[in-house]
Protein backbone atom coordinates (compact mmCIF):
# COMPACT_ATOMS: atom_id res chain seq x y z
CA UNK A 1 0.00 0.00 0.00
CA UNK A 2 1.24 3.46 -0.91
CA UNK A 3 1.22 6.00 1.86
CA UNK A 4 -0.69 9.09 0.70
CA UNK A 5 1.59 11.35 2.70
CA UNK A 6 4.09 10.84 -0.13
CA UNK A 7 1.89 13.14 -2.23
CA UNK A 8 3.05 15.98 0.00
CA UNK A 9 6.55 14.75 0.78
CA UNK A 10 7.68 14.20 -2.82
CA UNK A 11 7.22 17.74 -4.14
CA UNK A 12 8.46 19.23 -0.86
CA UNK A 13 11.60 17.12 -0.88
CA UNK A 14 12.05 17.85 -4.58
CA UNK A 15 11.81 21.57 -3.91
CA UNK A 16 14.53 21.44 -1.29
CA UNK A 17 16.68 19.11 -3.37
CA UNK A 18 16.80 21.63 -6.22
CA UNK A 19 19.30 24.07 -4.64
CA UNK A 20 21.47 21.11 -3.59
CA UNK A 21 21.56 19.63 -7.08
CA UNK A 22 22.14 23.15 -8.31
CA UNK A 23 25.75 22.78 -7.14
CA UNK A 24 26.21 20.03 -9.73
CA UNK A 25 24.30 21.48 -12.66
CA UNK A 26 21.78 24.25 -13.17
CA UNK A 27 19.84 22.15 -15.67
CA UNK A 28 18.88 19.37 -13.27
CA UNK A 29 16.18 21.50 -11.62
CA UNK A 30 13.70 21.23 -14.49
CA UNK A 31 13.95 17.44 -14.50
CA UNK A 32 13.46 17.31 -10.73
CA UNK A 33 10.12 19.07 -11.01
CA UNK A 34 9.22 16.81 -13.93
CA UNK A 35 10.04 13.63 -12.01
CA UNK A 36 8.39 14.74 -8.77
CA UNK A 37 5.10 15.61 -10.45
CA UNK A 38 5.16 12.40 -12.48
CA UNK A 39 5.73 10.40 -9.29
CA UNK A 40 2.76 12.18 -7.70
CA UNK A 41 0.54 11.38 -10.66
CA UNK A 42 1.55 7.71 -10.46
CA UNK A 43 0.82 7.61 -6.72
CA UNK A 44 -2.61 9.12 -7.28
CA UNK A 45 -3.20 6.41 -9.87
CA UNK A 46 -2.29 3.72 -7.33
CA UNK A 47 -4.49 5.25 -4.64
CA UNK A 48 -7.66 5.60 -6.72
CA UNK A 49 -8.81 1.94 -6.50
CA UNK A 50 -8.05 1.80 -2.75
CA UNK A 51 -9.76 5.05 -1.88
CA UNK A 52 -12.85 4.73 -4.03
CA UNK A 53 -14.61 2.46 -1.51
CA UNK A 54 -13.37 3.73 1.82
CA UNK A 55 -11.26 6.81 2.54
CA UNK A 56 -7.77 6.46 4.00
CA UNK A 57 -6.99 8.35 7.19
CA UNK A 58 -3.28 9.00 7.74
CA UNK A 59 -2.25 9.94 11.27
CA UNK A 60 0.80 12.15 11.34
CA UNK A 61 2.96 11.37 14.36
CA UNK A 62 0.60 8.65 15.54
CA UNK A 63 -1.82 10.92 17.43
CA UNK A 64 -5.43 9.85 17.13
CA UNK A 65 -7.88 12.52 15.95
CA UNK A 66 -9.02 14.97 17.28
CA UNK A 67 -5.45 15.41 18.53
CA UNK A 68 -2.61 15.80 16.11
CA UNK A 69 -2.76 16.33 12.39
CA UNK A 70 -4.38 13.87 10.06
CA UNK A 71 -4.73 13.55 6.31
CA UNK A 72 -8.12 12.50 4.99
CA UNK A 73 -7.74 10.95 1.57
CA UNK A 74 -11.31 10.72 0.36
CA UNK A 75 -12.23 10.36 -3.32
CA UNK A 76 -13.16 14.05 -3.29
CA UNK A 77 -9.70 15.08 -2.10
CA UNK A 78 -7.96 12.59 -4.32
CA UNK A 79 -9.79 13.94 -7.37
CA UNK A 80 -8.27 17.36 -6.69
CA UNK A 81 -4.86 15.82 -6.03
CA UNK A 82 -5.14 14.02 -9.35
CA UNK A 83 -5.93 17.22 -11.24
CA UNK A 84 -3.04 18.99 -9.48
CA UNK A 85 -0.44 16.34 -10.15
CA UNK A 86 -1.44 15.67 -13.74
CA UNK A 87 -1.56 19.33 -14.68
CA UNK A 88 1.66 19.96 -12.76
CA UNK A 89 3.36 17.21 -14.74
CA UNK A 90 2.17 18.49 -18.13
CA UNK A 91 3.12 22.06 -17.29
CA UNK A 92 6.58 21.04 -16.16
CA UNK A 93 7.15 19.32 -19.52
CA UNK A 94 6.19 22.59 -21.17
CA UNK A 95 8.44 24.58 -18.85
CA UNK A 96 11.60 22.72 -19.91
CA UNK A 97 12.02 24.98 -22.92
CA UNK A 98 9.64 27.81 -22.11
CA UNK A 99 11.32 29.03 -18.91
CA UNK A 100 14.86 29.96 -19.89
CA UNK A 101 15.26 33.54 -18.67
CA UNK A 102 16.16 34.50 -15.13
CA UNK A 103 16.75 32.14 -12.26
CA UNK A 104 15.41 28.89 -13.67
CA UNK A 105 16.26 27.02 -10.48
CA UNK A 106 14.14 29.35 -8.38
CA UNK A 107 11.23 28.99 -10.77
CA UNK A 108 11.22 25.23 -10.37
CA UNK A 109 11.71 25.43 -6.61
CA UNK A 110 8.73 27.75 -6.26
CA UNK A 111 6.71 25.66 -8.67
CA UNK A 112 7.21 22.54 -6.57
CA UNK A 113 6.35 24.42 -3.38
CA UNK A 114 3.22 25.67 -5.13
CA UNK A 115 2.25 22.06 -5.93
CA UNK A 116 3.01 21.04 -2.33
CA UNK A 117 0.73 23.73 -0.98
CA UNK A 118 -2.14 22.88 -3.31
CA UNK A 119 -1.92 19.15 -2.57
CA UNK A 120 -1.68 19.79 1.16
CA UNK A 121 -4.79 21.94 1.20
CA UNK A 122 -6.92 19.29 -0.44
CA UNK A 123 -5.60 16.35 1.58
CA UNK A 124 -5.43 17.68 5.12
CA UNK A 125 -8.12 17.17 7.75
CA UNK A 126 -7.00 19.90 10.14
CA UNK A 127 -7.94 23.54 9.72
CA UNK A 128 -4.67 25.05 10.88
CA UNK A 129 -2.69 22.66 8.76
CA UNK A 130 -4.92 23.70 5.88
CA UNK A 131 -4.04 27.32 6.61
CA UNK A 132 -0.31 26.56 6.57
CA UNK A 133 -0.50 24.74 3.24
CA UNK A 134 -2.70 27.49 1.92
CA UNK A 135 -0.02 30.01 2.82
CA UNK A 136 2.64 27.90 1.09
CA UNK A 137 0.43 27.92 -2.00
CA UNK A 138 -0.21 31.66 -1.81
CA UNK A 139 3.32 32.85 -1.04
CA UNK A 140 4.84 30.78 -3.82
CA UNK A 141 2.22 32.00 -6.25
CA UNK A 142 2.89 35.66 -5.33
CA UNK A 143 6.54 35.07 -6.10
CA UNK A 144 5.81 33.16 -9.29
CA UNK A 145 3.52 35.87 -10.64
CA UNK A 146 6.38 38.35 -10.25
CA UNK A 147 8.91 35.86 -11.62
CA UNK A 148 9.76 37.84 -14.76
CA UNK A 149 10.44 40.95 -12.64
CA UNK A 150 9.06 43.16 -15.40
CA UNK A 151 6.80 46.14 -14.77
CA UNK A 152 3.53 44.27 -15.18
CA UNK A 153 4.57 41.16 -13.30
CA UNK A 154 5.76 42.97 -10.19
CA UNK A 155 2.74 45.23 -10.11
CA UNK A 156 0.39 42.28 -10.45
CA UNK A 157 2.40 40.38 -7.86
CA UNK A 158 2.15 43.07 -5.22
CA UNK A 159 -1.56 43.57 -5.84
CA UNK A 160 -2.11 39.85 -5.47
CA UNK A 161 0.08 39.77 -2.35
CA UNK A 162 -1.75 42.58 -0.56
CA UNK A 163 -5.23 41.23 -1.29
CA UNK A 164 -4.22 37.65 -0.64
CA UNK A 165 -2.54 38.33 2.67
CA UNK A 166 -5.53 40.29 3.97
CA UNK A 167 -7.54 37.21 3.06
CA UNK A 168 -5.10 34.98 4.92
CA UNK A 169 -5.37 37.18 8.01
CA UNK A 170 -9.15 36.80 7.85
CA UNK A 171 -8.76 33.03 7.69
CA UNK A 172 -6.49 33.10 10.74
CA UNK A 173 -8.99 35.22 12.69
CA UNK A 174 -11.65 32.71 11.71
CA UNK A 175 -9.48 29.85 12.95
CA UNK A 176 -8.90 31.65 16.26
CA UNK A 177 -12.64 32.19 16.74
CA UNK A 178 -13.48 28.62 15.78
CA UNK A 179 -10.83 27.25 18.14
CA UNK A 180 -12.16 29.43 20.93
CA UNK A 181 -15.70 28.15 20.34
CA UNK A 182 -15.02 24.46 19.73
CA UNK A 183 -11.63 23.86 21.34
CA UNK A 184 -10.44 21.78 18.44
CA UNK A 185 -8.70 22.18 15.12
CA UNK A 186 -9.77 18.89 13.60
CA UNK A 187 -12.33 19.37 10.83
CA UNK A 188 -14.39 16.32 11.77
CA UNK A 189 -14.32 17.15 15.46
CA UNK A 190 -15.45 20.72 14.82
CA UNK A 191 -18.12 19.50 12.43
CA UNK A 192 -19.47 17.10 15.06
CA UNK A 193 -19.99 19.82 17.66
CA UNK A 194 -20.70 22.88 15.54
CA UNK A 195 -24.48 22.58 15.77
CA UNK A 196 -24.36 22.58 19.58
CA UNK A 197 -22.42 25.85 19.65
CA UNK A 198 -24.74 28.80 19.91
CA UNK A 199 -22.89 32.03 19.44
CA UNK A 200 -23.01 34.93 16.98
CA UNK A 201 -19.25 34.54 16.62
CA UNK A 202 -19.88 31.38 14.64
CA UNK A 203 -21.44 33.24 11.73
CA UNK A 204 -18.64 35.82 11.94
CA UNK A 205 -16.12 32.99 11.58
CA UNK A 206 -18.03 31.60 8.59
CA UNK A 207 -18.06 35.00 6.91
CA UNK A 208 -14.33 35.42 7.55
CA UNK A 209 -13.57 32.02 6.03
CA UNK A 210 -15.81 32.74 3.06
CA UNK A 211 -14.04 36.05 2.43
CA UNK A 212 -10.55 34.71 2.99
CA UNK A 213 -10.84 31.67 0.78
CA UNK A 214 -13.07 33.55 -1.63
CA UNK A 215 -10.15 35.86 -2.43
CA UNK A 216 -8.01 32.92 -3.52
CA UNK A 217 -11.02 31.38 -5.24
CA UNK A 218 -11.70 34.65 -7.09
CA UNK A 219 -15.39 34.68 -6.24
CA UNK A 220 -17.01 38.00 -7.18
CA UNK A 221 -16.50 40.64 -5.73
CA UNK A 222 -13.13 39.39 -4.45
CA UNK A 223 -11.58 38.80 -7.86
CA UNK A 224 -9.75 42.08 -8.49
CA UNK A 225 -6.30 40.47 -8.35
CA UNK A 226 -6.98 37.66 -10.78
CA UNK A 227 -6.90 39.27 -14.23
CA UNK A 228 -3.66 41.11 -13.51
CA UNK A 229 -1.95 38.14 -11.90
CA UNK A 230 -3.00 35.61 -14.52
CA UNK A 231 -2.23 37.93 -17.40
CA UNK A 232 1.20 39.03 -16.19
CA UNK A 233 2.58 35.73 -14.93
CA UNK A 234 4.60 33.45 -17.24
CA UNK A 235 2.17 31.34 -19.29
CA UNK A 236 3.04 28.13 -17.46
CA UNK A 237 2.11 29.78 -14.19
CA UNK A 238 -1.08 31.21 -15.65
CA UNK A 239 -1.98 27.68 -16.70
CA UNK A 240 -1.58 26.24 -13.20
CA UNK A 241 -3.08 29.28 -11.47
CA UNK A 242 -6.19 28.99 -13.62
CA UNK A 243 -6.02 25.23 -13.79
CA UNK A 244 -6.07 24.39 -10.11
CA UNK A 245 -5.05 27.22 -7.77
CA UNK A 246 -8.40 29.00 -7.85
CA UNK A 247 -10.19 25.66 -7.71
CA UNK A 248 -8.27 24.93 -4.50
CA UNK A 249 -9.73 28.16 -3.11
CA UNK A 250 -13.21 26.98 -4.09
CA UNK A 251 -12.44 23.59 -2.52
CA UNK A 252 -11.64 25.32 0.77
CA UNK A 253 -14.83 27.39 0.57
CA UNK A 254 -17.10 24.40 0.03
CA UNK A 255 -15.20 22.32 2.58
CA UNK A 256 -15.80 24.97 5.22
CA UNK A 257 -19.36 25.86 4.26
CA UNK A 258 -20.54 22.30 3.82
CA UNK A 259 -18.41 19.87 5.82
CA UNK A 260 -17.39 21.99 8.78
CA UNK A 261 -20.25 24.43 9.22
CA UNK A 262 -22.99 22.39 7.59
CA UNK A 263 -24.49 25.72 6.59
CA UNK A 264 -27.31 24.66 4.31
CA UNK A 265 -28.77 28.14 4.23
CA UNK A 266 -25.58 29.49 2.66
CA UNK A 267 -25.87 27.27 -0.38
CA UNK A 268 -28.48 29.24 -2.27
CA UNK A 269 -26.43 32.32 -1.58
CA UNK A 270 -23.37 30.56 -3.02
CA UNK A 271 -25.31 29.55 -6.12
CA UNK A 272 -26.42 33.14 -6.68
CA UNK A 273 -22.91 34.42 -6.09
CA UNK A 274 -21.62 31.88 -8.59
CA UNK A 275 -23.95 33.09 -11.31
CA UNK A 276 -23.02 36.70 -10.57
CA UNK A 277 -19.33 35.79 -10.82
CA UNK A 278 -20.02 34.01 -14.10
CA UNK A 279 -21.83 36.96 -15.65
CA UNK A 280 -19.28 39.53 -14.51
CA UNK A 281 -16.37 37.42 -15.71
CA UNK A 282 -17.84 36.73 -19.13
CA UNK A 283 -19.04 40.28 -19.71
CA UNK A 284 -15.66 41.79 -18.90
CA UNK A 285 -13.82 39.13 -20.88
CA UNK A 286 -15.85 40.14 -23.92
CA UNK A 287 -14.30 43.57 -24.14
CA UNK A 288 -10.66 42.61 -23.53
CA UNK A 289 -8.23 43.01 -26.38
CA UNK A 290 -5.27 41.25 -24.79
CA UNK A 291 -5.38 37.52 -25.11
CA UNK A 292 -4.19 36.43 -21.66
CA UNK A 293 -6.37 39.00 -19.92
CA UNK A 294 -9.34 37.65 -21.82
CA UNK A 295 -8.49 34.11 -20.74
CA UNK A 296 -8.10 35.30 -17.14
CA UNK A 297 -11.57 36.87 -17.11
CA UNK A 298 -12.95 33.74 -18.69
CA UNK A 299 -11.47 31.82 -15.73
CA UNK A 300 -13.53 34.00 -13.40
CA UNK A 301 -16.59 33.05 -15.41
CA UNK A 302 -15.80 29.35 -15.18
CA UNK A 303 -15.19 29.59 -11.44
CA UNK A 304 -18.64 31.13 -11.19
CA UNK A 305 -20.12 28.10 -12.92
CA UNK A 306 -18.25 25.76 -10.55
CA UNK A 307 -19.45 27.65 -7.47
CA UNK A 308 -22.99 27.62 -8.84
CA UNK A 309 -22.83 23.86 -9.33
CA UNK A 310 -21.57 23.36 -5.77
CA UNK A 311 -24.41 25.57 -4.58
CA UNK A 312 -26.96 23.11 -5.99
CA UNK A 313 -25.66 20.66 -3.32
CA UNK A 314 -27.21 17.51 -4.73
CA UNK A 315 -25.06 14.55 -5.72
CA UNK A 316 -25.61 15.41 -9.36
CA UNK A 317 -24.69 19.04 -8.73
CA UNK A 318 -21.42 18.25 -6.97
CA UNK A 319 -20.63 15.71 -9.66
CA UNK A 320 -21.21 18.38 -12.27
CA UNK A 321 -19.00 20.80 -10.34
CA UNK A 322 -16.16 18.29 -10.18
CA UNK A 323 -16.54 17.43 -13.85
CA UNK A 324 -16.52 21.14 -14.63
CA UNK A 325 -13.32 21.54 -12.58
CA UNK A 326 -11.66 18.76 -14.57
CA UNK A 327 -12.82 20.12 -17.90
CA UNK A 328 -11.87 23.70 -17.01
CA UNK A 329 -8.44 22.57 -15.82
CA UNK A 330 -7.75 20.78 -19.10
CA UNK A 331 -9.19 23.38 -21.43
CA UNK A 332 -7.81 26.46 -19.70
CA UNK A 333 -4.36 24.93 -19.28
CA UNK A 334 -4.39 24.08 -22.98
CA UNK A 335 -5.46 27.62 -23.87
CA UNK A 336 -2.77 29.26 -21.74
CA UNK A 337 -0.07 26.90 -22.96
CA UNK A 338 -1.03 27.49 -26.60
CA UNK A 339 -1.26 31.24 -26.01
CA UNK A 340 2.19 31.18 -24.39
CA UNK A 341 4.06 30.37 -27.58
CA UNK A 342 1.66 32.32 -29.78
CA UNK A 343 2.48 35.44 -27.75
CA UNK A 344 6.15 34.56 -27.88
CA UNK A 345 6.15 34.22 -31.67
CA UNK A 346 3.90 37.23 -32.27
CA UNK A 347 5.88 39.37 -29.84
CA UNK A 348 2.75 41.01 -28.46
CA UNK A 349 -0.12 40.14 -26.14
CA UNK A 350 -2.75 41.84 -28.31
CA UNK A 351 -5.36 39.66 -29.93
CA UNK A 352 -4.97 41.57 -33.20
CA UNK A 353 -1.30 40.53 -33.44
CA UNK A 354 -2.36 36.89 -33.66
CA UNK A 355 -3.51 37.35 -37.27
CA UNK A 356 -2.32 34.59 -39.54
CA UNK A 357 -1.25 32.35 -36.66
CA UNK A 358 -3.33 29.55 -38.17
CA UNK A 359 -0.79 29.30 -40.98
CA UNK A 360 2.33 30.05 -38.92
CA UNK A 361 1.64 27.68 -36.04
CA UNK A 362 -0.99 25.21 -37.27
CA UNK A 363 -0.82 22.75 -34.38
CA UNK A 364 -0.76 25.37 -31.64
CA UNK A 365 -3.70 27.11 -33.29
CA UNK A 366 -5.56 23.83 -33.48
CA UNK A 367 -4.87 23.25 -29.77
CA UNK A 368 -6.13 26.74 -28.94
CA UNK A 369 -9.27 26.15 -30.99
CA UNK A 370 -10.02 22.83 -29.31
CA UNK A 371 -9.48 24.37 -25.88
CA UNK A 372 -11.77 27.27 -26.71
CA UNK A 373 -14.50 25.03 -28.14
CA UNK A 374 -14.31 22.79 -25.10
CA UNK A 375 -14.55 25.75 -22.72
CA UNK A 376 -17.59 27.12 -24.55
CA UNK A 377 -19.15 23.67 -24.48
CA UNK A 378 -19.35 22.40 -28.03
CA UNK A 379 -19.91 18.65 -28.28
CA UNK A 380 -17.73 16.23 -28.72
CA UNK A 381 -15.37 18.00 -26.32
CA UNK A 382 -15.35 17.55 -22.56
CA UNK A 383 -16.80 20.99 -21.82
CA UNK A 384 -20.10 19.91 -23.33
CA UNK A 385 -20.53 16.97 -20.97
CA UNK A 386 -19.60 18.97 -17.90
CA UNK A 387 -21.87 21.92 -18.67
CA UNK A 388 -24.65 19.52 -19.58
CA UNK A 389 -24.29 17.76 -16.21
CA UNK A 390 -24.40 21.04 -14.30
CA UNK A 391 -27.51 22.25 -16.10
CA UNK A 392 -29.22 18.87 -15.76
CA UNK A 393 -28.51 18.85 -12.03
CA UNK A 394 -29.89 22.36 -11.61
CA UNK A 395 -33.08 21.56 -13.52
CA UNK A 396 -33.54 18.37 -11.51
CA UNK A 397 -33.95 20.52 -8.38
CA UNK A 398 -37.22 21.74 -9.85
CA UNK A 399 -37.12 25.15 -8.20
CA UNK A 400 -37.95 28.36 -10.00
CA UNK A 401 -34.84 30.12 -8.69
CA UNK A 402 -32.59 27.53 -10.32
CA UNK A 403 -34.46 27.79 -13.62
CA UNK A 404 -33.84 31.55 -13.62
CA UNK A 405 -30.17 31.10 -12.69
CA UNK A 406 -29.78 28.54 -15.49
CA UNK A 407 -31.02 31.17 -17.91
CA UNK A 408 -28.21 33.48 -16.80
CA UNK A 409 -25.69 30.66 -17.07
CA UNK A 410 -26.73 30.01 -20.66
CA UNK A 411 -26.53 33.73 -21.41
CA UNK A 412 -22.97 33.69 -20.03
CA UNK A 413 -22.15 30.75 -22.28
CA UNK A 414 -23.35 32.62 -25.34
CA UNK A 415 -21.14 35.60 -24.47
CA UNK A 416 -18.25 33.20 -23.90
CA UNK A 417 -18.84 31.63 -27.30
CA UNK A 418 -18.86 34.99 -29.02
CA UNK A 419 -15.52 36.22 -27.73
CA UNK A 420 -13.75 32.91 -28.25
CA UNK A 421 -15.04 32.69 -31.81
CA UNK A 422 -13.76 36.22 -32.38
CA UNK A 423 -10.24 35.15 -31.40
CA UNK A 424 -10.42 32.01 -33.53
CA UNK A 425 -11.56 34.08 -36.47
CA UNK A 426 -8.54 36.36 -35.97
CA UNK A 427 -6.20 33.40 -35.81
CA UNK A 428 -7.42 31.66 -38.95
CA UNK A 429 -9.13 34.11 -41.26
CA UNK A 430 -7.52 37.49 -40.79
CA UNK A 431 -4.28 38.77 -42.24
CA UNK A 432 -3.34 38.17 -45.86
CA UNK A 433 -0.77 35.76 -47.23
CA UNK A 434 2.57 37.13 -46.23
CA UNK A 435 5.90 35.73 -47.28
CA UNK A 436 7.47 36.77 -43.98
CA UNK A 437 5.00 34.54 -42.13
CA UNK A 438 7.02 31.37 -42.21
CA UNK A 439 5.86 28.28 -40.42
CA UNK A 440 7.52 28.18 -37.02
CA UNK A 441 5.86 25.67 -34.78
CA UNK A 442 6.38 25.68 -31.00
CA UNK A 443 9.22 23.41 -29.77
CA UNK A 444 8.51 19.74 -29.20
CA UNK A 445 8.57 20.09 -25.38
CA UNK A 446 5.62 22.44 -25.70
CA UNK A 447 3.77 20.36 -28.26
CA UNK A 448 3.76 17.15 -26.17
CA UNK A 449 1.73 18.51 -23.22
CA UNK A 450 -0.61 20.32 -25.59
CA UNK A 451 -1.13 17.11 -27.56
CA UNK A 452 -1.83 15.11 -24.37
CA UNK A 453 -4.35 17.71 -23.18
CA UNK A 454 -6.00 17.77 -26.59
CA UNK A 455 -6.36 13.98 -26.61
CA UNK A 456 -7.71 14.02 -23.05
CA UNK A 457 -10.29 16.65 -23.93
CA UNK A 458 -11.56 14.68 -26.89
CA UNK A 459 -11.43 11.23 -25.26
CA UNK A 460 -13.07 12.22 -21.98
CA UNK A 461 -15.56 14.27 -23.97
CA UNK A 462 -16.58 11.28 -26.06
CA UNK A 463 -16.53 8.77 -23.18
CA UNK A 464 -17.46 10.72 -20.02
CA UNK A 465 -17.98 7.31 -18.39
CA UNK A 466 -14.20 7.05 -18.01
CA UNK A 467 -14.14 9.27 -14.95
CA UNK A 468 -17.77 9.30 -13.90
CA UNK A 469 -17.43 6.43 -11.40
CA UNK A 470 -14.70 8.35 -9.55
CA UNK A 471 -16.80 11.51 -9.69
CA UNK A 472 -19.89 9.69 -8.39
CA UNK A 473 -18.12 8.35 -5.34
CA UNK A 474 -16.37 11.69 -4.78
CA UNK A 475 -19.65 13.60 -4.92
CA UNK A 476 -21.63 11.28 -2.66
CA UNK A 477 -18.69 11.02 -0.23
CA UNK A 478 -18.45 14.79 -0.06
CA UNK A 479 -22.13 15.30 0.66
CA UNK A 480 -22.23 12.74 3.48
CA UNK A 481 -21.08 14.86 6.44
CA UNK A 482 -22.02 12.31 9.07
CA UNK A 483 -20.04 9.60 7.35
CA UNK A 484 -17.04 11.94 7.13
CA UNK A 485 -17.16 12.63 10.86
CA UNK A 486 -17.55 8.93 11.64
CA UNK A 487 -14.70 7.91 9.37
CA UNK A 488 -12.27 10.35 10.91
CA UNK A 489 -13.24 10.17 14.58
CA UNK A 490 -14.40 6.60 15.02
CA UNK A 491 -12.68 4.97 12.10
CA UNK A 492 -15.66 3.21 10.49
Amino acid sequence: MVNPVLLIIIPLAGAFAIPLFGFISKHISKYISLISTLAMAVIVGFLVPQVINNPIIVLIGGFKPPFGINLVVSPFSLFFAGVISLLGFLVSIYAIKYIYEGDVEKYHLLFLLFITGATGVVLTGDIFNLFVFFEILCISSYALVAYNRDKDGVEAGIKYLIQGSVGSSFILIGIALLYGLCGSLNMADIASQIHSVNSPLLSLALVLFLTGFGIEGAIFPLNAWLPDAHASAPSTISAVLSGFAIEVGVYAVVRFVWTIFGALSMLHFLAGLGVLTLLVGELVAFRQNRIKRMLAYSSIGQIGLIVFAFGIASVAGVKGALFQIASHAMAKALLFLAAGYMIYRAGSKDISSLEGMGRRMPFTSLAFTVGAFSLVGFPPFVGFSSKFLVIKAALAEGQLIFAILIGFVLLGTIIEGSYFLKVIQTIYFKGGEDSSNKRIEAPICALIPMFILLILIVVVGVYPGLISSVLDSAASGFLDRIQYIKTVLVGI
Partner: protein, 119 residues
Protein backbone atom coordinates in the same frame (compact mmCIF):
# COMPACT_ATOMS: atom_id res chain seq x y z
CA UNK B 1 -14.67 48.09 34.40
CA UNK B 2 -14.86 44.36 34.80
CA UNK B 3 -15.82 44.06 31.15
CA UNK B 4 -12.63 45.80 30.09
CA UNK B 5 -10.58 43.67 32.43
CA UNK B 6 -12.06 40.45 31.10
CA UNK B 7 -11.98 41.33 27.44
CA UNK B 8 -8.90 43.55 27.35
CA UNK B 9 -6.94 41.28 25.03
CA UNK B 10 -9.82 40.82 22.62
CA UNK B 11 -10.42 44.57 22.46
CA UNK B 12 -6.73 45.18 21.88
CA UNK B 13 -6.41 42.55 19.18
CA UNK B 14 -9.49 43.62 17.24
CA UNK B 15 -8.38 47.21 17.69
CA UNK B 16 -5.04 46.40 16.09
CA UNK B 17 -6.71 44.47 13.27
CA UNK B 18 -9.03 47.37 12.51
CA UNK B 19 -6.16 49.89 12.67
CA UNK B 20 -4.21 47.75 10.23
CA UNK B 21 -7.18 47.46 7.88
CA UNK B 22 -7.72 51.21 8.05
CA UNK B 23 -4.08 51.86 7.14
CA UNK B 24 -4.28 49.45 4.22
CA UNK B 25 -7.43 51.02 2.88
CA UNK B 26 -6.50 54.67 3.28
CA UNK B 27 -2.75 55.06 2.84
CA UNK B 28 -1.26 55.52 -0.59
CA UNK B 29 2.36 54.72 0.17
CA UNK B 30 3.17 51.09 -0.48
CA UNK B 31 5.50 50.82 2.52
CA UNK B 32 2.73 52.12 4.78
CA UNK B 33 0.33 49.58 3.32
CA UNK B 34 2.83 46.84 4.13
CA UNK B 35 3.16 48.20 7.67
CA UNK B 36 -0.62 47.97 7.92
CA UNK B 37 -0.37 44.34 6.87
CA UNK B 38 2.14 43.72 9.63
CA UNK B 39 -0.12 45.38 12.21
CA UNK B 40 -3.01 43.12 11.19
CA UNK B 41 -0.70 40.15 11.65
CA UNK B 42 0.21 41.29 15.15
CA UNK B 43 -3.43 41.76 16.04
CA UNK B 44 -4.31 38.27 14.83
CA UNK B 45 -1.45 36.78 16.83
CA UNK B 46 -2.63 38.48 20.01
CA UNK B 47 -6.14 37.21 19.34
CA UNK B 48 -4.84 33.65 18.97
CA UNK B 49 -2.83 33.86 22.18
CA UNK B 50 -5.69 35.36 24.16
CA UNK B 51 -8.01 32.53 23.11
CA UNK B 52 -5.95 30.14 25.21
CA UNK B 53 -4.85 32.55 27.92
CA UNK B 54 -5.63 32.11 31.59
CA UNK B 55 -4.95 34.69 34.24
CA UNK B 56 -2.18 33.45 36.51
CA UNK B 57 -2.10 30.19 34.57
CA UNK B 58 0.81 27.79 34.60
CA UNK B 59 2.77 26.08 31.89
CA UNK B 60 1.10 22.83 30.77
CA UNK B 61 3.74 20.62 32.39
CA UNK B 62 3.28 18.62 35.58
CA UNK B 63 6.60 19.80 36.95
CA UNK B 64 5.66 20.00 40.63
CA UNK B 65 2.94 19.02 43.10
CA UNK B 66 -0.37 20.83 43.14
CA UNK B 67 -0.56 21.85 39.49
CA UNK B 68 -4.09 21.39 38.17
CA UNK B 69 -4.95 20.88 34.51
CA UNK B 70 -7.68 23.48 34.85
CA UNK B 71 -5.10 26.15 35.72
CA UNK B 72 -2.87 25.40 32.76
CA UNK B 73 -2.62 27.67 29.74
CA UNK B 74 -3.68 26.01 26.49
CA UNK B 75 -0.46 25.35 24.57
CA UNK B 76 -2.06 24.84 21.15
CA UNK B 77 -2.66 28.54 20.33
CA UNK B 78 0.93 29.30 21.24
CA UNK B 79 2.15 26.70 18.79
CA UNK B 80 -0.18 28.21 16.19
CA UNK B 81 1.14 31.70 16.82
CA UNK B 82 4.70 30.50 16.36
CA UNK B 83 3.76 29.23 12.91
CA UNK B 84 1.70 32.32 12.13
CA UNK B 85 4.63 34.59 12.99
CA UNK B 86 6.92 32.70 10.62
CA UNK B 87 4.34 32.94 7.83
CA UNK B 88 3.91 36.64 8.56
CA UNK B 89 7.64 37.22 8.26
CA UNK B 90 7.73 35.41 4.92
CA UNK B 91 4.92 37.53 3.53
CA UNK B 92 6.50 40.71 4.86
CA UNK B 93 9.87 39.88 3.33
CA UNK B 94 8.34 39.07 -0.04
CA UNK B 95 6.22 42.23 0.04
CA UNK B 96 9.23 44.43 0.77
CA UNK B 97 11.25 42.72 -1.98
CA UNK B 98 8.49 43.37 -4.47
CA UNK B 99 8.24 46.98 -3.24
CA UNK B 100 11.96 47.48 -3.96
CA UNK B 101 11.64 46.07 -7.49
CA UNK B 102 8.52 48.14 -8.05
CA UNK B 103 10.36 51.28 -6.97
CA UNK B 104 13.11 50.53 -9.48
CA UNK B 105 10.54 50.27 -12.28
CA UNK B 106 8.33 53.22 -11.46
CA UNK B 107 10.47 55.53 -9.31
CA UNK B 108 7.58 55.97 -6.90
CA UNK B 109 5.83 54.06 -4.14
CA UNK B 110 2.53 55.90 -4.51
CA UNK B 111 0.00 53.24 -5.42
CA UNK B 112 -2.17 55.77 -7.24
CA UNK B 113 0.63 56.36 -9.72
CA UNK B 114 1.48 52.70 -10.21
CA UNK B 115 -1.22 51.85 -12.68
CA UNK B 116 0.35 50.30 -15.69
CA UNK B 117 -2.27 47.58 -15.58
CA UNK B 118 -5.81 48.81 -15.83
CA UNK B 119 -7.97 48.00 -12.82
Amino acid sequence: MEFIENYMYYIASFGLILIGLYIMLVKKNLIKIIIGLSIIDTGVNILLISVGYLKEGTAPIFSREGLLPSRMVDPVPQALVLTAIVIGVAILALALTLAIVLYRHYGTLNVRKIRNLKW
